[in-house]
């Protein structure tokens, strides 16, 4: 689904867009993403004026409200550096939906230029930084849940896996129907709680069946959903953002 993307050479500087969920609930994941980039010799810029990509309102039909917020983000990342986002969902919003959102505007070209600078974190690590990871952790079994937007909108499911496969002591477990949505869907989980509960419980079962010790995901929405459900069940499966996990396993000597 994602178009064939061309990746630039390693830049001197890169912007980081936290996403509001990471900002408030999973800051360590954002920090880990920034540290991974910095370790590769790229200066990371975190504009303090950033807030949210606007997706919650956009997906609820409140388009004007979403636009007002999106415009603020456009104003934060004006220099011609890549914009790295630790979420397939928010990256998908900024890369694919911003041009659609401002379709009728005179400065459409500059919005498209902005969007073409947006990268999801794992694709940035793999294709732009060509990162090589040295695993310093203990052997562990890990299940990966790739969000629907990371998989289908951004087309970065392979990049998530490629990074985990670089970690020599990590055994990547594959759950049944790994492509299926976990049932988060933003406000869907609240508007259709019964269907969402069914979906997340099926997802948790599939993950538990693999015998994994840990669940990782590149999207905090899914983590909050599946992880929250695993905790509710008192399942002995931890959950972490893929950036935190990679940073924790690779930074001890270099960090």
């Amino acid at each position: 689904m994602a178009e064939q993307k061309r990746y630039p050479a390693k830049p001197k500087k890169a912007y980081f867009f936290a996403t509001c969920l990471v900002d408030l609930l999973y800051p360590e994941a954002g920090l880990a993403g920034m540290q991974l980039i910095r370790r590769e010799g790229v200066e990371v810029i975190f504009p303090q004026d950033q807030t949210c990509c606007g997706q919650p309102a956009w997906n609820s039909g409140y388009r004007d409200e979403a636009r007002e917020v999106a415009l603020r983000q456009l104003a934060c990342f004006t220099d011609n550096y890549p914009i790295v986002v630790p979420s397939g969902s928010c990256a998908g919003m900024m890369r694919h939906h911003y041009p659609e959102m401002f379709r009728e505007r005179a400065d459409q070209a500059s919005i498209e230029a902005f969007s073409s600078r947006v990268y999801e974190l794992t694709e940035f690590l793999v294709h732009v930084l060509k990162i090589e990871l040295k695993d310093l952790g203990k052997p562990i079994k890990v299940a990966l849940h790739t969000s629907c937007s990371a998989r289908r909108e951004m087309g970065v499911a392979d990049e998530h896996e490629a990074l985990l496969k670089q970690l020599s002591k990590v055994e990547l477990m594959t759950q049944a129907r790994k492509e299926e949505c976990c049932g988060f869907g933003g406000t869907f989980a609240v508007k259709q709680p019964a269907i969402s509960a069914e979906m997340v419980s099926d997802k948790a079962n599939a993950i538990a069946d693999t015998g994994a010790d840990l669940l990782v995901s590149g999207d905090c929405g899914c983590l909050m959903n599946i992880g929250g459900h695993l905790d509710y069940r008192d399942a002995a499966i931890e959950h972490r953002h893929i950036a935190s996990f990679i940073w924790e396993r690779t930074h001890a000597t270099e960090g």
Binding site: F16, A18, V69, D79, G185, Q192, E198, N225, G228
Partner: protein
């Protein structure tokens, strides 16, 4: 039929039925695997889907002109063409044809448009018997239920359900839950009826404008019987089913059968180009084509929503939909369920009636990923969510703005007010962080099956500053 029954209670009912869940899961897993096996080469599949999308988009771009051409060519071929703006008109046309021939029995092949018309009930009220001859549809007719899937209408029923139903309806036939025996029994009952019926009805998969050909895809041979054995054949279809050229049929057919059931080709593919000609020994004496609008031309008016009409009714979007797989087709309460139903039906019945359907999606995109004609279903769901709450009255969709509540609008206004100002946003972050021990995060339905998330002791804005990441 569309009706405003409580969507939520139907969902609860479906989710509370473990047998339904198991049947749907295994049926959908099977259909997905079959489709996948049919498309081993991803690049070839993408090229074919692109071709399919182009063919359908091309046909829609010239729809009025192609429909006139279709009418002209069909008429030349001896097919009588009827235009129906509404379901009532279409039913009236079919009734008129039946009356003209003093016909008392209509034997039907599978047709979703006839479901849309609620034709069986209409004709039966007029004293005309309708008999479904597609096995799945026949089972549902016996059970008095509507289809729950557009390709496999009785997919929600188990073999045992069907065996019990047959025993109840035909006590003389010994009970069996063997699929072959059940099929043989049904065939025996139906076969006689084909000879007794004075008219046969079918749908249309593609109506070819340049040649006036009606294409019909099927697996049981009942479609061929319905369209050739009785003296009168009535084809009913939506106006969007037209394609420009015969050469456009093979790619669409390839996409349709593979996407629907994972077959390289179906057992039967019928190309109907007119009634029996002089000297021919078989075929109907009359062929009628009923072209139904029923809201389609209104959908056609909108540049973006028109893509809804590309659909070739393969059912792949429902087979791959995690929601459909959980709740089944009946929960939607519409003729067409699943992702395509959630964009098509609210546009026809109005967002005031079916506005909840576009909201009941995670926008996961599994549907658009498999749709053989690349309908951007999530984008259209999003568009309808907007139409549902927009407060101006500029659009053309029925029931526009009907889902807007003052409370929700106020929440999003406040959300925007907060997130469009970095100062206010940072203030709110700090506040939330300070109050994190007492803030009621994720109250309500979220925490029914989940532990609430925890607000971090320091937000990323602060940590970025502390760790020396520059602001610009």
């Amino acid at each position: 039929m569309q009706q405003r029954v409580d969507f939520h209670s139907r969902i609860e009912q479906a989710l509370g039925n473990p047998q339904l869940k198991a049947s749907l899961r295994s049926a959908m897993d099977g259909l997905m695997a079959n489709r996948k096996a049919c498309f081993p080469d991803a690049d070839a599949l993408e090229a074919l889907r692109l071709r399919g999308a182009q063919i359908r988009a091309n046909a829609l771009s010239k729809l009025p002109q192609l429909l006139l051409q279709l009418e002209q060519r069909c008429t030349q071929n001896g097919i009588r063409v009827h235009w129906a703006e509404s379901v009532d008109e279409a039913n009236g046309i079919v009734l008129g044809i039946m009356r003209e021939h003093q016909a008392e029995l209509l034997i039907k092949g599978k047709s979703m448009v006839s479901e849309e018309m609620d034709l069986n009930r209409f004709l039966e009220a007029q004293g005309i018997e309708c008999l479904e001859s597609d096995l799945g549809e026949y089972i549902l007719q016996l059970a008095g239920e509507p289809p729950s899937h557009i390709v496999a209408p009785a997919i929600h029923k188990t073999r045992q359900d069907i065996a019990r139903l047959f025993k109840e309806k035909f006590p003389d036939i010994p009970y069996s839950d063997d699929v072959d025996t059940l099929t043989r029994n049904a065939r025996g009952i139906l076969r006689k009826k084909f000879y007794a019926a004075s008219a046969g009805l079918s749908g249309v998969n593609f109506a070819v404008a340049e040649s006036g050909t009606l294409c019909l895809v099927e697996n049981e041979g009942n479609g061929r019987m319905c369209t050739t054995v009785p003296p009168v054949h009535i084809a009913v279809t939506g106006i969007e089913k037209v394609v420009e050229k015969l050469a456009h049929v093979p790619p669409l057919l390839k996409l349709l059968t593979r996407s629907a059931t994972g077959q390289h080709i179906t057992t039967y593919f019928n190309m109907i180009s007119g009634p029996r000609r002089t000297g021919e020994k078989d075929g109907p004496k009359e062929v009628h084509l009923v072209l139904l609008d029923n809201g389609r031309s209104r959908i056609y008016e909108d540049n973006e929503l028109v893509n809804t009409l590309r659909c070739i009714r393969c059912g792949a979007c429902m087979n791959h939909c995690p929601i459909y797989t959980r709740i089944g087709g009946h929960a939607y309460g519409t003729t067409i369920p699943g992702p395509i139903g959630s964009i098509l039906e609210p546009q026809k019945a109005g967002l005031d009636n079916l506005g909840e359907l576009p909201v009941a999606s995670t926008l996961c995109g599994a549907c658009a990923e498999v749709c053989p004609v690349r309908i951007p279903i999530p984008t259209l769901l999003n568009r309808l969510r907007y139409e549902r709450i927009r407060s101006d009255h500029d659009g053309a969709t029925h029931g526009q703005g009907s889902g807007r509540t003052r409370k929700e609008a106020a929440i999003w206004k406040a959300w925007s007010w907060l997130h469009r100002s970095p100062v206010r946003y940072r203030l709110a972050l700090t506040l939330a962080t300070r109050l994190r021990k007492i803030l009621p995060l994720g109250l309500g339905p979220w925490t029914r099956v989940r532990k609430p998330p925890r607000i971090a002791a320091k937000n990323l804005h602060r940590r970025a500053r502390e760790e020396g990441f520059n602001d610009r």
